[in-house]
Every structure is written in structure tokens, then in C-alpha cells.
């Protein structure tokens, strides 16, 4: 994280030194074609090849807590525009309010003036406390054991600032001019000029090194020696700072790790002038590459940086460079899914699904107030369509993610949220299709809203790519497809049952208070209770299967069927709870109200197993970074506890009434 600390100073100096007041000529603006080109630029990050657009989105989300940014003039822009600004106009990007700071105490600790809560801060504003920030983060980070929240927030901010500095310094190598005027040797080497670009220096690497060694053996500190030493040192700094994005494909096809410009600089400087094309069959794998060598690509980036203030020229250069880089990824077979992923994020399935779920919930709720006649014909079809449409969007999004990753639909905690929501919505549509009560439909729409909202919250909070690479033990599609999906179906259906049980309990409360149409209401309540029971059985089927399949998977990978690991236990608790409800109902121990209240409590068990177990921080399944989940979960438990108590009170009332009227 805090590696290469000695280079940080250099980066900061570079960023600060680039802060000449923005001249009119440097006004940045990215036209659509340029954005299009960079969006689909393949880069390797966190173990997979992804579009630069995705990289930009999650980087901004991590630093800023939002998906868009505002520039110094208050205009908003996309994550990609922000990233391009950081790369090509770091002096402007330093003024954008990029960093979200949740806790103003962090600013107090840093001795900076604070703004409002959850306000955003520009790099420029944080820069004065930069030294202190890194110092504190280093101290806190070295402490063993769990850290208080404030210390974690300071470390987080330091990481974010570091991330920004790496982006700002990413193209420093392309901006830098090496001073060659002071040394005859250097002037001679690059054709008599007083300054040189990196692309001119790199091919001379071996000569520079040889001369440097020769001069250092001499022992005389000549001006040549000093100048060469400075150049070598500067190249080393460039190599150390240009490490944010791995966008160069390795020359060796067998190698899976892509290179950052920094790594390419180091290699190119050592290799020097590439050997003139000779027929060299032995080394053919190294020479056989598509398009340009790394050194040539680095030179291309210099030209791109030079053209930054001329949109037309910039676009032309960008087209050349991006198409070359793209071609290299294509030839390695690593480009295939890139356009799809760009499209996935552009289409914003989940955002539109959220909007539509909200709309459909409001429309259906409105009908509840109005007419009881809307259960038939066109109304019914329209109501079904209202919930079906966002559900289709949601499923389309899930399918597209599966295709992009070549994986079953659920592999991460984030994806369980999407998938469970889809399951709840589909089951509610089915129920509505069968019984036409509009209750399942309203609940389905509401769960859609809740699920999409939660997914969005989760994504923002984590601020990390939601399509990460899989650790070895998870990396088996068969088990992901069977165990994980069945468990998630069980969760989704169980939550739907719980939500519908709320309707039952509230309906009962309303009947108590208002006594509206007792006979019809009673009948509706009974039908609702039957539906809840049905959904519970459906959930149980998948919970049991998922749990047993989980055991079988564990038996395949660790040689034990059951190990009482927290997540296993969570799944088992869901199964046991649901079994207890079923048997208690069959045995006549609880009636409709009892079942519904127990199903609501079952929702709590699911929530515990789904998110609560990860908070324990032990066991094989404790994936997912879950700050703030605890508060949310505790709130959920408190509210649900109240609902259960309220529902139980209606039972007591009934008993009391029963005694009064013999």
C-alpha cells in the first residue's frame, strides 16, 4: 500500500511543480470520440483485463464516493473524464473536490480547516497536510491489532491521496525534459540538443550506463559524470512513479502480467536500441508482436501529452495509440469482453431498474387506495408489466455480468444482492399471476426498490470493482452455479415470504383498528397466510439443497462435509428455523399469525446469515468488507423486533376478546 514511500516526495513535487495557473490554452474538453476511444482501452487491474472506463468508475467511486465529479467551475463530468483530467491535466484535477471525508475529525487531526460533514476536498486543499497525513497513516498502519475508526479513516485518506498522486504523476515521463545542455557527451548522444525527451534517452540506455561506469572508475567528478548521473536518476524516478495503470501487453505471449509504463521504461532503458530486424528465429517469440514496441508506445504517449491542448490533434494521436493497444489485447484474446463491459456500465440496468421499481410500487400502491376492480383484464396485465419490466432489466444486467465474467450469476456478496432481488421479484410475479391479489406484486416492487437501493449502497461503500478475480477455492463454476445459486434463491424467497408476512401482520393490525369489511378481510388474510406458507416451503427447498450442496462442495475441496464454520452455520440456522415453523404449523402448535410472525423472524435469521456472519470476522467465508453494516443490521433487527411484538399484541387482544364473549 504505502510502498515506494521515498518516491512519494518526488510525485508530490512533480504534481505541485505542474501547478502553473491554468492558461486559456489548457482548457480541457473531451469530445465524444476521444471518450469513446479511452472508455474501451483495455487495462489490467486487480488480476483481470477491464476497460479503462470501469477502472475510472471504481477509482472515482473509491476516492469520491460518487460516480461523477464536479470540476473547479462546478460543471459535472463522468468518471472517465475525471481520470483523463488526472492523467493529462493534473494541475486542473488537483483543484477538483475529489476526496470524500466522512469524518471531520480527520481534518482536525491533520490540522486542516473543516467544511460540512461528508464534504469533498480538493487535492490542493489537502496538500498542506500531506506530510502529516502520510506520517500518521504510517504510524497507525504499523500498530498491531484492531484500529479505531478514526485511524482507519486516516489510513484510507492517505491511500486515496496516494492513488491520486499516482494518477497525476502517471504521464510525468511523457512531460519530462531531460537537461542535456551541460554535458558534451549527452549532447552528442542525442544529436546536439540541449534537452531531450524520454523516448530519445531510452534507446541510449546501455551507452549511458557504460559511460557512467567508465567515468565512475576514473574517479573524477566531471560535468559529464554529474549530468549522466542525473539523467539515470531521473529515468529511475519515472520508472518508479508511472505505475498506476498496467496498459502495455507483455512481449512474451506466455506471460500473463501486463506492464505499467514504469516497468516498460526500466526494461527499455536496460535493453536500449532494439536490435534491427534480423531473421532471428530463436528470439522470434519476443520479436513477434503486434504493432509497436513498448519504447515506441511510450513515445506515442509523449506525443499524446504534447497534443493535449489541441483537441483535433489529440484525437488523432489517441486514435493511433488506443487502436494499437487494443490490437495487442485482441491478438492475445483478452479484448473480447471489453466492449460488452463498457456497454454494461453505460446502460445502467440497475439504476433504471431502481427507478422503475419505485414508479411501479407507487402506481400499484395508488391503486390500492382507489379501486378494488383493477384485478382484472387490462389492469392486471398492466400491473404485471409494471413489475416485470424492471425485473427484466435486472435479469438482463445479471446475465450480462455473467457473460462478461464467464461465470454463474452469483460469485460475490454484491451479486447475491442482485440475484436475491431478482428471485424475490420473479417469485412475486408468479404468485400474482396465479392469485391476482396484488399483494405479492406490491411486495415484489417494494423488495425491488430495497434490493436495488441496497446494491447501490453496497457498491458505493466498497468503492471497489464488483467483478473481482476469484480466489482459488471459489474458482469452480460447477459449485458456484449449484451451491451458491440455490442458497441465494433460498435467501431471496425467504425474504419475500418475510416481506409478505409483514403485510399479513399489518393487515391484522388495521383490521383491529379500523375493522374494515371483516369477512372479506378475514378471507384475504387467510389466503395471504397460505401464500406466505407456500413461499416459505419454496425457500426451504432451496435452503436445504443449497446447504447440503455446500457441504458436498466442502467435502470436495477440504475433505469434510461439515465443519461448523460460521457461514455454514448461518445456512443451517435458516434451514432449522424454517423446519421448525413447518413442523410447528403441521403439529398445530402455531396458527396463521404464529407462522407469519415466525417468518418475519426468519427474515432476521437470513439477514444474520447473509451479512451478519461476515461481521464476526472469522471462518472461511468472511469475505466482503463490511464497515457500517453493523449499524444497518442492528437497525433492521430493532425495527423487525418491533413488528413482531406488535403482531404478537394482536394475538393477545384476540385472546382477551375471546374471553370476554363466551
Amino acid at each position: 500500500m504505502m510502498r515506494a514511500a521515498k518516491h512519494l516526495m518526488f510525485i508530490a513535487l512533480a504534481v505541485l511543480s505542474a501547478w502553473t495557473p491554468a492558461s486559456g490554452a489548457d482548457e480541457r474538453s473531451w469530445d465524444d470520440e476521444t471518450l469513446e476511444l479511452f472508455a474501451a482501452l483495455p487495462v489490467q487491474d486487480e488480476g483481470r483485463v477491464k476497460p479503462l472506463d470501469t477502472y475510472a468508475r471504481f477509482k472515482l467511486l473509491k476516492l469520491n464516493g460518487r460516480r461523477s465529479f464536479r470540476d473547479a467551475d462546478g460543471r459535472s463530468g463522468s468518471a472517465l473524464e475525471w481520470l483523463l483530467d488526472c492523467l493529462f491535466f493534473p494541475e486542473l484535477a488537483a483543484r477538483y473536490e475529489t476526496f470524500v471525508i466522512d469524518n471531520s475529525e480527520v481534518l482536525v487531526v491533520l490540522g486542516l480547516p473543516e467544511k460540512n460533514r461528508r464534504d469533498r476536498y480538493a487535492y490542493e486543499e489537502l496538500a498542506p497536510a500531506r506530510e502529516r497525513l502520510y506520517e500518521l497513516a504510517g504510524q497507525y498502519g504499523a500498530k498491531p491489532g484492531p484500529r479505531p475508526l478514526l485511524e482507519n479513516q486516516v489510513i484510507n485518506l492517505a491511500n486515496n491521496v496516494h492513488d491520486f498522486e499516482l494518477l497525476a504523476a502517471f504521464l510525468d515521463f511523457a512531460r519530462h525534459r531531460f537537461d542535456t545542455g551541460g554535458s558534451e557527451f549527452l549532447r552528442g548522444l542525442i544529436g546536439g540538443k540541449d534537452e531531450a525527451r524520454l523516448s530519445e534517452i531510452l534507446p541510449k540506455g546501455p551507452q549511458l550506463a557504460a559511460k557512467f561506469i567508465e567515468l565512475s572508475r576514473d574517479g573524477t567528478r566531471s560535468s559529464d559524470f554529474e549530468a549522466i548521473g542525473k539523467v539515470v536518476h531521473e529515468v529511475e524516478e519515472m520508472a518508479a512513479t508511472s505505475t498506476a495503470i498496467a496498459l502495455l501487453t507483455p512481449a512474451d505471449r506466455e506471460q500473463t502480467e501486463w506492464l505499467t509504463p514504469g516497468e516498460a521504461i526500466r526494461v527499455a532503458f536496460v535493453e536500449g536500441q532494439p536490435a534491427q530486424a534480423e531473421p532471428a528465429p530463436a528470439a522470434s517469440r519476443l520479436v513477434e508482436r503486434h504493432g509497436l514496441s513498448h519504447a515506441e508506445l511510450l513515445a506515442g504517449m509523449e506525443q499524446l501529452v504534447d497534443a493535449r491542448s489541441d483537441p483535433g490533434a489529440f484525437r488523432t494521436k489517441a486514435r493511433e495509440l488506443c487502436s494499437t493497444l487494443m490490437g495487442q489485447a485482441v491478438s492475445r484474446g483478452e479484448y473480447e469482453k471489453i466492449p460488452l463491459e463498457v456497454a454494461f456500465y453505460r446502460l445502467q440496468f440497475f439504476y433504471y431498474a431502481l427507478v422503475l421499481y419505485i414508479l411501479s410500487f407507487l402506481l400499484i400502491a395508488f391503486q390500492w387506495l382507489r379501486s378494488p376492480k383493477s384485478r382484472v383484464g387490462l389492469w392486471r396485465a398492466a400491473n404485471l408489466a409494471l413489475v416485470a419490466l424492471p425485473t427484466v432489466l435486472l435479469i438482463a444486467g445479471i446475465v450480462m455480468r455473467s457473460i462478461i465474467r464467464g461465470r454463474p450469476p452469483v460469485t460475490t456478496l454484491y451479486e447475491t444482492i442482485l440475484f436475491c432481488t431478482a428471485v424475490a421479484a420473479v417469485v412475486s410475479l408468479f404468485i400474482e399471476f396465479v392469485n391476482r391479489q396484488r399483494i405479492a406484486l406490491s411486495v415484489g416492487a417494494l423488495l425491488g426498490v430495497a434490493g436495488m437501493f441496497l446494491a447501490n449502497k453496497y457498491e458505493v461503500r466498497e468503492g471497489a470493482d464488483t467483478m473481482p478475480s476469484m480466489v482459488a477455492v471459489l474458482d469452480t463454476n460447477f459449485w458456484l452455479a449449484t451451491h451458491v445459486t440455490t442458497i441465494a434463491i433460498g435467501y431471496g424467497a425467504g425474504l419475500l415470504a418475510s416481506a409478505m408476512a409483514h403485510v399479513y401482520v399489518f393487515g391484522r393490525l388495521l383490521n383491529k383498528i379500523g375493522r374494515i369489511g371483516p369477512i372479506e378481510a378475514e378471507e384475504r388474510q387467510r389466503a395471504l397466510a397460505r401464500t406466505v406458507y407456500g413461499v416459505l416451503c419454496f425457500s426451504l427447498l432451496f435452503s436445504v439443497l443449497g446447504t447440503v450442496l455446500g457441504g458436498i462442495w466442502a467435502n470436495e475441496s477440504w475433505g469434510r462435509f461439515w465443519g461448523w464454520d460460521p457461514k455454514e452455520n448461518g445456512a443451517l440456522m435458516i434451514v432449522l428455523w424454517q423446519l421448525a415453523i413447518l413442523h410447528a404449523r403441521r403439529g398445530g402448535l402455531i396458527g396463521d399469525l404464529g407462522v407469519n410472525l415466525a417468518v418475519i423472524a426468519g427474515g432476521l435469521v437470513i439477514a444474520f446469515s447473509w451479512f451478519g456472519v461476515n461481521l464476526l470476522g472469522v471462518g472461511l467465508h468472511s469475505y466482503g468488507f463490511t464497515t457500517g453494516t453493523f449499524a444497518a443490521l442492528a437497525g433492521f433487527f430493532a425495527v423487525e423486533g418491533m413488528v413482531i411484538v406488535l403482531g404478537a399484541i394482536t394475538q393477545r387482544q384476540r385472546c382477551a376478546e375471546g374471553q370476554k364473549s363466551p
Partner: protein, 359 residues
């Protein structure tokens, strides 16, 4: 008797058992945060009775996991399979219950009768035995001689009951002393995942000479004694189990996701050698090697921090579980049962809805 059967097969009992197991599971999960998995397992699940300290102050006696699961098995057998009427409408339920019974039985057999252990091999090494995970043995052998010597083994089952003041004395044909073992101690140490036992040993020379006392500790250097001019090593260590074949590690492969430290793949290429016949096989995460009732799983590797050219070792977990495949079969039975039952229910429900729509 009838009353007892009716009680054991009642819905009331099954509900109570489900809820008890639910509570045990919850408590056992929370207990892990402070005390680790192993102790939670021992206290809540592999026990008949236990005292749970609510908030650390209020003692609550609870039946342990063994008792609850045992009763569940009986209740399930009587109430779910034997007593209910057998007809088509109950077929699904019957199958489902039978499947769960199989599962419980399989889990029990696995837990009680499986031998688990591991074998660690550097590339090129081979082994014809594996090291047990939970069982111990004491080895006694002569040292210092140049010729290979016979090692005498005392199996764990012969000394693990010598707790407290109980003692047992062991004789060996070729060894000039008797070994008296007392006070076997396998109490878990705080938050330790593995229990390391110790035992007190008195070496009593058969001819003359004073008794020598030693404490044998697991996972430490063997105790040394000199008797009748010869040196002996006595060692308390993990039990070793012979394999009916030899396994050789040819190559261990570890891949990371490019540019990260996140493991993508661990794989051991091995050769199993049996009666002179060699056969290659590949073991990776989720893809174990099964042969003659033994299953080999990719477990870990080392040495930690090895460079690209270092010789690596691979640790394979070895399990011999007579009920290895029972969970899978029971899963199929349960699936079948629940699917049949729920489809019947759903069809009936749909029919009733249609009837309702028509009236």
C-alpha cells in the same frame, strides 16, 4: 412404550429439537469469535451437555449437539419415516425425511470413523504413509547405532485413556526397560485450534538401575534415555497411517491472478505407484484424487515466501471416510423428495385457484 414412541415422533419434540439445534448453532458460531473453531466444536457440537454462560454471568445448562442430533435422528426415524401412513401424497415427504436421515447417518459415520491427516511432499519426494491429524502415538527406538532399528509403536487408543492418576505399563521384546505412562493431558490451550497433548512417562529398567522420568510433549523433540549402555528416543507424535500405495509429488504449480497476490490456482501433479504400476494424476482445489477409499485434497504449500526457482512442497490432506459419498446420495434423495412434494402441493394449489376462478 407406546407413549414414548408417540412422544419421540411428535411434532412438539421435533420443533423443540430444531430450536435447540438452532440455539446451539447460533451460540457455537458466536463462541468462535473469542475461542476459535475447534473449541466451539468441542463445546457445543461434539458434546452431550454443556453450560453456556449467558453474558458471561448467567449459567444456562443446555443439551449438547451430539444429544440433540441423536434425538433428532430418532425423532426423524419414528415420526418422519416409520409412523406416517404410506401413500402417494406423502411420498415426497417420506423421501425427504429418509434423505435427511441418510445425511445425519453419513455425517456421523464421517465424524466418528473417518481417518484424516496429511502428507507433505517436496517435489520429487514420495510417501507410503500419512500423518494423522487428531490421533497420537508414542514411538520408542534405539538411537546411536548405525544399523536401521525397529521402532516400537504404542497406538493412541492404548494410552489416551490414562488420564489423571491412571497408569499403564508397556513392555517391548527387544528393549531393556518398561514404560509406565501416567496422566495423559489433552486439555485445549486458550484459543488454540489444535490440541497438543502431553503424558508423563517413567522408564523402569528391567534389570537394575533407577527409574528415569520424562514428560513427553507432542510436536517437540523426542525424550532421550540411557539404559543398559544404550540410548533410546521416546517420542509422542501424530499417528502415522500406512497407505496401500505410494504417492509421489512430481510438480507443484501455483498461479496468481496477474499483477496481484491473489491465488488463482494450486495444483499438484502426482504419480501413484501401486505394485510397480505408475499412474499420473492431478490434484487441485475442488478436484481431489480418489483411490482405494483414500481421498487426497490440495491443502497447502510452502515454504512461505519461496522465490520462483525454489523447490516447493505441497501438503495434501488425506481422508479415509467410509461415508464419503453418502452426503451426495442423500442430497439427491432429498432433492427428489422435496421436489415431488412441493410440485404436488403447487399443482393442488393451482387447481384450487382455478376452481375458485371458475366459481
Amino acid at each position: 412404550m407406546k407413549k414414548a414412541v408417540r412422544f419421540l415422533s411428535s411434532y412438539e419434540l421435533s420443533c423443540v429439537l430444531f430450536l435447540l439445534l438452532f440455539v446451539l448453532t447460533l451460540l457455537g458460531t458466536l463462541y468462535q469469535v473469542e475461542h476459535g473453531l475447534y473449541q466451539a466444536q468441542q463445546k457445543y457440537f461434539a458434546s452431550f451437555f454443556l453450560i453456556h454462560w449467558l453474558f458471561g454471568v448467567l449459567p444456562i445448562p443446555l443439551p449438547g449437539g451430539y444429544l440433540v442430533m441423536g434425538l433428532t435422528f430418532v425423532s426423524l426415524l419414528l415420526g418422519g419415516v416409520i409412523r406416517p401412513r404410506k401413500d402417494w401424497r406423502r411420498l415426497g415427504i417420506l423421501l425427504g425425511h429418509a434423505g435427511i436421515l441418510m445425511l445425519l447417518a453419513g455425517a456421523f459415520v464421517g465424524y466418528e470413523y473417518a481417518t484424516t491427516g496429511y502428507v507433505t511432499l517436496y517435489e520429487g519426494e514420495s510417501a507410503g504413509e500419512f500423518v494423522g491429524e487428531h490421533d497420537w502415538e508414542i514411538g520408542v527406538r534405539e538411537t546411536g547405532g548405525s544399523e536401521p532399528v525397529t521402532e516400537y509403536i504404542i497406538r493412541g487408543e492404548d494410552f489416551q485413556m490414562l488420564r489423571g492418576g491412571r497408569s499403564g505399563t508397556f513392555y517391548f521384546a527387544g528393549i531393556p526397560f518398561e514404560l509406565m505412562l501416567t496422566g495423559y493431558d489433552a486439555a485445549p490451550r486458550a484459543t488454540q485450534e489444535v490440541v497438543l497433548p502431553a503424558i508423563h512417562a517413567a522408564v523402569l529398567p528391567k534389570d537394575t538401575g533407577a527409574a528415569q522420568e520424562r514428560i513427553l510433549r507432542a510436536d517437540s523433540e523426542p525424550a532421550r534415555v540411557d539404559v543398559a549402555g544404550k540410548s533410546y528416543a521416546i517420542e509422542l507424535r501424530r499417528g502415522r497411517w500406512p497407505l496401500p500405495f505410494t504417492i509421489r509429488l512430481d510438480k507443484f504449480t501455483r498461479e496468481l491472478h496477474p499483477g496481484t497476490n491473489q491465488p488463482k490456482l494450486f495444483r499438484s501433479d502426482v504419480t501413484k505407484i501401486e505394485a510397480g504400476i505408475q499412474q499420473r494424476a492431478r490434484i487441485s482445489m475442488n478436484e481431489p484424487l480418489r483411490h482405494k477409499g483414500y481421498t487426497f485434497y490440495q491443502s497447502s504449500w510452502g515454504p512461505a515466501g519461496a522465490g520462483p526457482n525454489d523447490r516447493l512442497y505441497s501438503t495434501l490432506a488425506v481422508v479415509r471416510n467410509p461415508a464419503d459419498k453418502l452426503p451426495l446420495w442423500s442430497c439427491l434423495v432429498i432433492t427428489l423428495g422435496l421436489t415431488v412434494h412441493l410440485s404436488q402441493k403447487l399443482l393442488r394449489y393451482l387447481k384450487s385457484q382455478r376452481a375458485k376462478a371458475e366459481t
